[in-house]
């Protein structure tokens, strides 16, 4: 009983104990915040990547792609296991390209990645429709212009005075001229869906009140010219296109590169007939991915095709995150170890200070074990209180991290979290209860461990020496 009382009294009357608590608290809070942010980054990134990339990709080795998509799909569907595991498949044609447009009368050129898709099929595989800006397209993705876009397109075209290359009638002098030429309908360029970051830039000099700092460079209805290479011969080909919608996944790498257009159109542009570069596959259960990959590899062993899960495709970045997280955790546990040495030093001082009291307690019949328990209990109490407050502080900081970041950015005038550098427009956080628990247990353990040495010294004190101590 007296152990509890003394622990409590020592805690309340020792200013130094506060230092221990604060150091444990700061360590725990830092670990929780950093782990939450790292965890947030990695889960969000993985989620995003997985959301954007289909579970499994069957891919040609070169830009020329492969033929007989239907046959391949049929072969896959013929396998009962694959048929059961695969929810959706869609062919895709990907190629690098150059995109040119005018903004405020200045020409701009951007390297982009052209992706020819079948909108419905791509929607079924996932990672596409839900990122479209126009809500109508989210339900049923299409490359059609909205009414406003069409209006803008017509006005701009009229202002430029470009004649519409309508279908030209072939006139044979031996025959009477056709009675009434059909009303010339202007041939509209093909619609495309543009990565959000291609059509927008962030105005860093915008006044702080402006909430949306994104400046649009390409409106729906604006025309662009895309140049790429043809299929087998890799000769340059180009065409005019019209922006119809934006793709906003908030993964800046994708948002600033992807340009979607209908598969057949890209095939025609590149004169590739029915060739595609990949088949995107969505699984019922991603846990089955290795098996499916095995099966597909065996099935297409003869063809020059690569079969990979999205994780294998993104192996480097995922591994980088894992390594980073591991190293950071080691470094951060050193913070708690520092707090542990603080406890060691402060406890040693307290034991020296309490030498006579320890002698008194022993004279009154307290056992060595009881004295040990007092100081271990004291360490435990410091650890508990420190970890408790640290957890509160860490969670609180994590929850308000974005507000804090904004506040600090405002004060210092420096962007701490430049959105266009990272993949996210908010600092993502993910508080993992297991992680928080581990950090708590670890720091409490360290507090107890480091109080063990001073506690043992206290327990081993000879009562007479302690009583004679001045």
């Amino acid at each position: 009983m007296f152990k509890v009382l003394l622990c409590w009294k020592y805690l309340r009357t020792r200013f130094l104990a506060l230092a221990c608590i604060v150091s444990v608290m700061l360590g725990v809070a830092t670990l929780i915040v950093v782990n939450s942010v790292m965890g947030g980054f990695s889960t969000k990134l993985k989620e995003r990547l997985h959301g954007l990339l289909s579970d499994i990709v069957l891919e040609a080795y070169d830009y020329d792609g492969f033929t007989d998509v239907e046959g391949k799909l049929a072969r896959i569907n013929a396998d009962p296991f694959l048929k059961q595991e695969i929810v959706a498949m869609t062919p895709t044609l990907e190629i690098f390209a150059m995109l040119q447009f005018n903004f405020r009368d200045a020409p701009f050129t951007r390297p982009v990645r052209l992706i020819g898709i079948e909108p419905e099929g791509r929607k079924a595989v996932g990672g596409f429709a839900e990122h479209l800006v126009n809500p109508l397209n989210r339900k049923r993705p299409s490359f059609e212009m909205t009414e406003e876009a069409k209006e803008r397109f017509l006005i701009k075209r009229a202002a430029r005075g470009v004649d519409f290359p309508g279908p030209k009638a072939f006139v044979n002098p031996n025959e009477p001229p056709p009675p009434d030429p059909p009303p010339s309908r202007p041939h509209d360029p093909q619609g495309i869906i543009l990565g959000y970051a291609i059509g927008h830039f962030r105005d860093r000099n915008a006044p702080a009140e402006v909430v949306n700092k994104d400046v649009r460079t390409l409106e729906p209805g604006d025309e662009v010219i895309i140049t790429t290479v043809s299929g087998a011969r890799l000769a340059p080909v180009y065409d005019r296109f019209i922006v119809t919608d934006y793709f906003k996944s908030e993964m800046s790498e994708y948002d600033s590169n992807y340009v979607f257009l209908p598969l057949e159109h890209l095939q025609k542009l590149r004169t590739m007939e029915d060739r595609v570069t990949s088949i995107q596959i969505r699984l019922r259960d991603f846990d089955q991915a290795p098996k499916v990959v095995e099966k597909l590899k065996a099935m297409f062993a003869d063809a020059p095709l690569e079969v990979q899960t999205w994780e294998q495709k993104q192996g480097a970045i995922l591994a980088a995150i894992r390594v980073e997280k591991g190293i950071l955790n080691v470094l951060l546990f050193l913070i708690i170890a520092v707090a542990g040495f603080g406890i060691l030093a402060i406890f040693s001082m307290i034991v020296v200070e309490k030498t006579r009291d320890i002698g008194i307690l022993k004279a009154l019949g307290a056992s060595n074990r009881a004295i040990l328990a007092i100081f271990l209990g004291y360490g435990l109490l410091l650890g508990l209180v420190g970890a408790g407050f640290g957890t509160l502080m860490g969670l609180e900081l994590t929850w308000h991290l974005n507000d804090i970041e904004k506040f600090i950015s405002k004060i210092t005038g420096q962007d701490i979290f430049p959105r266009d550098v990272y993949y996210f427009d908010k600092i993502p956080t993910d508080i993992q209860p297991m992680g928080v628990l581990l950090v708590n247990l670890g720091s409490i353990g360290i507090a107890v461990l480091f109080s063990l040495l001073p506690a043992l010294r206290a327990a081993m004190l000879h009562p007479v020496r302690a009583l004679r101590f001045e």
């Binding site: 009983m1 007296f2 009382l5 009294k9 022993k362 009154l364 019949g365 056992s367 009562p463 004679r468």
Partner: protein, 258 residues
């Protein structure tokens, strides 16, 4: 009044060693103390009186010789049994009071009982213990000081708190190492009167170290320690000197009959 033998020391030797330097302090001390006796130990400073008290009270071990308590050898007991003895059978009063500075008067007095009981046991023993501590504090004249910290008390009050603490476990034997050594004469006399009352009325056996020969001469017996041995042990005097009761001590200090 003075009954059978309670504690006996036989041929006690103690030498302090530090590095190569040996300080022989006790060189064969023999004596005994009887049930109900008030024994005083006198001797020049540094002659080993405190050392002797520590050996008798199982706070330290002799190099040679034995200590018997109720005819049972105690100097070689394992430490848990020695802790038990100190908690239940012995009470200690020190020159410098040795109260725990963080605790109030009441908590200091309760400490031996808190050490005695486990946390759970304490929950049941608590109310009786507190009542007993309050009674004892009242008897030593500190009923109004229960929630004061040691730093808020005078020397005499501190020593009376220490006496209450020594008594709360109902010890059979009270060790007092210069209990008045740090107090002025009249306060010291008050403390001494309290001790004498304890011995006389409650029958507590007391071994007291003192420099005050006047006080020593009023105890049953005085042992003079010199050159590491008992120089003279006068027999118990036939007549116990009259003493003045502390006005605050109105009745027996010891709870009799539980």
């Amino acid at each position: 009044m003075v009954g059978q033998e309670l504690m006996r020391a036989g041929n006690l030797h103690k030498t302090y060693r530090k590095n190569a330097v040996c300080t022989p302090v006790l060189l064969g001390v023999d004596f005994e103390v009887n049930q109900g006796e008030f024994l005083s130990i006198v001797g020049p400073s540094g002659c080993g009186k405190s050392t002797l008290i520590h050996l008798l009270g199982t706070l330290d071990k002799p190099d040679q010789g034995e200590v018997y308590f109720r005819n049972q050898r105690i100097d070689n007991l394992p430490s848990s049994q020695r802790d038990h003895l100190r908690n239940r059978e012995f009470g200690f009063i020190f020159q410098f009071y040795h109260l725990l500075p963080e605790l109030t008067t009441l908590e200091n007095v309760l400490m031996p009982l808190m050490i005695r009981h486990s946390t759970l046991g304490w929950l049941t023993a608590r109310w009786r213990a507190i009542k007993k501590a309050k009674d004892l504090l009242g008897k030593v004249g500190l009923g109004h000081r229960m929630n004061h910290l040691p730093k808020e008390l005078s020397g005499g009050e501190l020593q009376r708190t220490a006496i209450a603490r020594a008594l709360i476990g109902d010890p059979a034997l009270l060790f007092a190492d210069e209990p008045t050594g740090n107090l002025d004469e009249s306060t010291g006399n008050g403390i001494f009167d309290t001790l004498r009352g304890l011995n006389q009325i409650d029958g507590v056996t007391i071994i007291m170290v003192t420099h005050n020969l006047d006080i020593a001469s009023t105890t049953h017996r005085t042992i003079r320690l010199a050159a590491g041995q008992v120089e003279s042990a006068e027999p118990a005097p036939a007549r116990v000197h009259p003493w003045v009761f502390d006005p605050r001590n109105e009745g027996p200090l010891r709870q009799t009959g539980g």
